[in-house]
């Protein structure tokens, strides 16, 4: 604000006199005694304050681009504010969680549901969303999508939120039209790495063959780690069109780049590399038994086979595994006289020489890589069989990956069956790959298993992981059915002390969380 023009100079003199002190000031000046100086200053101070005028406005920010998406219904907006306010974590970390829902865990669901409805964030909540996205990278893509153009507009003004401008997915509106060849070319040449990855994705989505062309223009000058990242970004939406480029990358000077190119090619069953690998694998494995390769030749090396085995593994077994893993699964039917995956897996191939395990493990990796459901099904075997007796692998992590290649309903059914047969203690990883909300049979299997665990007096805290998962993943419609479980029973004589109350509390929290999720989802439904 401007100082009052009138007497401004005089005020400066008063300040100078005050700084120096009236004692040291000769000749009287504008005010002689301290009292007179204070009197004059008081008049000035009040006059200045009373006569204030506005300052000149600085350059205004560019208006934020309009976000055409609708705002969520009012109640949903309030819910979001509440979730964002509670995001700094549970009050007593790690301790007993009480009966109330854990809001932090519901934020991702709220964001996902809002995204399905195509809402934009209420403007007032954009800063809190950006803060949340800054603190939690797992929330970032969805939080930034919800914040939309308003979020990017704000992020440009606040260095704390710079990350939003770098994010590949958050760059909506930042990328040029993929059909604008000049603009695409310029961004490709001059852009930041993340912008270039985003651009590559956009270009591929528009025209599968244009992406390799773009990559080729600068490939020779890219740094090795960037080449690796670009290759990695091809993983999503990989297609036949990428083959020539990947084939060329098999000759790359970086070993990691070569290995990744080989891996991607082997995921394309019709590729030349897959054909070469099939030829090698078929030479090693057949109805008559297993003969692992005797050497790792130059061709194998070029096709991405790693020569040196990790400590503790024989080299021939190591090579065999890599060949089978990269060979298209379709090649085995003919080799085994027209048998299907389940029958092939059941064959006692070279059981005597101990190759079966090696072979099955490689088939598992191939099934995951090629997203082959029939082979996955065969390798998983029946869910009720003891895990150690499963045909493919006993590892739950690998089984979870195999499950991911199955259709949603089948996945849920398999895991439900597994839980009914083996209980919950090993099911955690498998549950993680099931689609939310859990299908009815799966949900019931989980709840029944929890109830059984309580009835037999198990320690409730050993199920807190599954319980937390259930709060987030059970169908909210199950809440009413679960009400009966929330009453505290007497502690069983051989149960841990306090277990009954803890179980009741956990079930109460489960029910209240499900109710809250149901309310949350209902609030998001447009009026």
């Amino acid at each position: 604000m401007d100082k009052g023009d009138e007497g401004y100079g005089e005020w400066e003199e008063l300040v100078a006199a005050a700084l120096l002190g009236t004692e040291r000031r000769r000749g009287g000046g504008p005010a002689g005694s301290p009292e007179a100086l204070l009197d004059a200053a008081a008049v000035h101070a009040v006059r200045r304050r009373a006569g204030l005028r506005p300052a000149e406005a600085g350059p205004r920010p560019e208006p934020a681009p309009r976000d055409p998406r609708p705002a969520p219904p009012e109640a949903a907006g309030r819910r979001l504010a509440q979730l964002l306010a509670g995001r700094s974590g549970p009050v007593n970390g790690g301790g007993r969680r009480g009966t109330a829902p854990d809001l932090t865990e519901l934020l991702p669901q709220w964001l996902a549901a809002a995204a399905r409805h195509g809402y934009r964030s209420p403007a007032a909540l954009v800063p809190a969303l950006l803060d949340a996205a800054r603190a939690r990278t797992d929330l970032r893509p969805q939080a930034l999508a919800l914040a939309g153009t308003r979020g990017l507009w704000l992020a440009r003004m606040n260095p704390d939120w710079r990350f939003a401008l770098r994010g590949g997915s958050g760059g909506a509106g930042e990328l040029p039209e993929v059909t604008d060849r000049v603009a695409v070319e310029r961004l490709w040449q001059e852009g930041l790495f993340a912008e270039r990855v985003a651009l590559l994705g956009a270009v591929r989505a528009h025209d599968a063959t244009a992406a390799p062309r773009l990559l080729t223009t600068t490939w020779a000058t890219e740094r090795a780690e960037d080449r690796l990242m670009f290759l990695d970004s091809l993983r999503v939406g990989l297609s036949e069109g990428d083959e020539p480029f990947l084939e060329a990358a098999l000759g790359d000077r970086s070993r990691n780049v070569r290995a990744t190119a080989a891996e991607l090619l082997s995921a394309l069953p019709a590729s030349a590399l897959a054909g070469r690998m099939a030829e090698r694998a078929l030479a090693c494995v057949g109805p008559e038994g297993v003969t692992p390769p005797a050497e790792c030749d130059a061709g194998m090396l070029r096709d991405g086979v790693v020569k040196r085995p990790p400590a503790g593994r024989g080299e021939r077994a190591w090579w065999l595994g890599q060949l089978v893993e990269a060979a298209p699964l379709s090649c085995w039917r003919e080799r085994f006289g027209g048998l299907g995956p389940a029958e092939i897996v059941a064959l006692p191939v070279a059981a005597g020489d101990g190759w079966t395990e090696e072979l099955h493990a490689a088939w598992c990796r191939a099934a995951v890589r090629q997203r082959d459901a029939p082979w996955s099904r065969a390798l998983l075997g029946p869910a009720s069989a003891p895990p150690a007796a499963g045909p493919g692998t006993a590892s739950l992590a690998e089984r979870a990956k195999l499950l991911e290649t199955l259709p949603h309903a089948e996945r849920a059914e398999w895991v439900a069956e597994f839980i009914r047969a083996h209980g919950l203690s090993e099911a955690f990883q498998l549950l993680g790959v099931c689609v939310v909300p859990w299908a009815g049979a799966l949900g019931r299997a989980v709840v029944d298993a929890l109830d059984t665990a309580r009835d037999v007096g198990s320690y409730p805290w050993s199920f807190s992981g599954v319980m937390g998962l259930a709060e987030r993943c059970l169908d909210p419609a199950e809440a009413d059915r679960l009400e009966a479980l929330t009453t505290a029973a007497e502690d069983l004589p051989d149960a841990a002390p306090g277990a009954a109350a803890y179980w009741a509390e956990a079930f109460q929290r489960l029910v209240s969380t499900l109710r809250l999720r149901a309310t949350m989802l209902a609030e998001l439904t447009p009026a």
């Binding site: 005050a18 200053a41 009373a50 934020a64 509440q82």
Partner: protein
């Protein structure tokens, strides 16, 4: 009485929370899950049983007209998390048709109603006028001695020059402030303490120090001549020095819109001051209600932003007629359906200037500003008139050292376009406290 159909927003409920932990804990209880027997009455109360970890559920009841709370839980916080949870649940979903309160809630509600019906201020003790006069005289004499001493201190300051103050440190001023407390002039003590902090405030401090010293001197002079001042100004001087208001001020009934509410903790952390800004919707009169909380506890009075209360406001004499006490309320608070009209930056400063005539020591004046465009800047933010080239600076720390977070919220609301903003407009600039989005009547309290 309004029925509880006019529900508050979740923000308004959460504004009542005494601290962050309660806000979070209350938020977790805001779903139907842990609640049984929830209900509400047509006269503005809600109740419910909340399952806790014990065998007996907690009995929670809220009188919305207060708001006042009662809960059987052992928490010492008011409102407790159960009351907050209950209010959140009510805010989100309502509590069904109005009905009869269960016995445990009805008793307390009846007691409250009975207390409210009793005539207020009818204290039976006979007034000892002679004694009161003598006490007032003694106090005036002590304040007078303090004022004389302070004048001496200020004269010494100016005689020796401000230049030495940067090295002199704060201790000397702290001692003078303590002397003013002894002299029963807490208002002077506060100003003296402020004065002591100025030399460490960065560039331009000598001018600010001279200004504050001069205004303090003006207050001293006014006190010494208070007998000759017009009554309103004399009341202002007495209240600025820190004497309790003498006599009741005028009472004004209106529908009061809560424009802002925020807390400031004293530097020693021992006292929380809650400032609540209101404005009469019919008369346009601004009012500032203060409430105080002892160490570790929040003030008891909470009025969520955006609510309108039909009530009597009793204005204290002096201080430009801002300070008021909330009197009788005639209905439960309800949300406001309109955005108050804003004025330009020039008009805002004129209003502050006009108020200085009644109270030259006034730091700021409550103003609804708009339409204005927030301009973020690395050196400082501005609020610029939507039309024209004028702007008000936003002080780096105003209104009790509020955070920058609220400013970003304001920027987010505006998106570079015009908004309406309520705040405190003074010689340091404009401190935004509440804003309205262009397309909504719901105020956003800037945190």
């Amino acid at each position: 009485m309004t029925d509880q159909g006019d529900r508050w927003t979740a923000e308004q409920v959460l504004d009542l929370a005494p601290d962050d932990a309660s806000r979070k804990a209350g938020g977790r209880l805001g779903g139907a899950g842990p609640w049984l027997q929830i209900g509400g009455s047509a006269s503005g109360s809600v109740w419910g049983l909340c399952k806790g970890s014990g065998s007996k559920p907690y009995r929670t009841v809220v009188d919305l007209t207060g708001p006042a709370y009662k809960c059987s839980c052992p928490s010492r916080k008011f409102p407790c998390k159960h009351a907050l949870g209950l209010l959140l649940l009510w805010s989100a979903e309502g509590v069904g048709e109005p009905g009869e309160a269960p016995e445990w809630a009805a008793q307390w509600l009846a007691d409250r109603a009975a207390k409210a019906a009793r005539p207020q201020g009818g204290r039976a003790a006979p007034v000892d006028e002679e004694g009161a006069r003598k006490r007032a005289e003694r106090r005036a004499a002590r304040v007078g001695a303090g004022v004389t001493e302070l004048e001496q201190r200020l004269a010494d300051l100016l005689r020796g020059g401000l230049a030495g103050q940067e090295q002199a440190g704060y201790a000397g001023w702290e001692e003078t402030a303590a002397r003013m407390v002894d002299a029963q002039a807490p208002g002077l003590a506060g100003r003296v303490r402020e004065l002591g902090t100025i030399p460490s405030c960065g560039p331009g401090w000598p001018a600010r120090m001279l200004e504050e010293a001069a205004l303090l001197h003006l207050l001293d002079r006014a006190w010494l001549g208070v007998a000759g001042l017009p009554e309103e100004l004399a009341a202002t001087v007495r209240s600025r020095v820190g004497l309790p208001a003498s006599g009741e001020g005028e009472a004004l009934r209106d529908r009061w819109l809560v424009l802002a509410q925020y807390d400031a903790v004293s530097p020693d952390g021992r006292l929380t001051t809650r400032r609540i800004w209101l404005r009469g919707l019919a008369g346009g009169r601004p009012a500032l209600v203060l409430d105080f909380g002892p160490p570790g506890r929040p003030p008891g009075l909470a009025l969520p932003v955006g609510l309108v209360l039909e009530a009597e406001m009793r204005f204290r004499p002096g201080s430009a007629g801002l300070r008021a006490d909330l009197g009788e309320r005639f209905a439960a608070a309800a949300p406001c359906a309109e955005v108050p009209a804003g004025v330009s930056t020039g008009a805002a400063l004129e209003a502050y200037g006009a108020a200085l005539r009644q109270d030259p020591w006034l730091e700021s004046w409550p103003v609804v500003l708009g339409p204005v465009v927030p301009i973020p800047g690395e050196l400082g933010w501005q609020l610029a008139d939507a039309e024209g080239t004028c702007a008000l600076p936003v002080p780096l720390t105003g209104g009790g050292g509020r955070s920058r977070g609220g400013l970003w919220q304001l920027a987010a609301l505006s998106g570079g376009g015009p908004v309406t903003v309520f705040g405190e407009c003074g010689h340091r600039g404009f401190t935004p406290l509440t804003a309205w989005q262009p397309d909504s009547t719901e105020p956003v309290a800037l945190s």
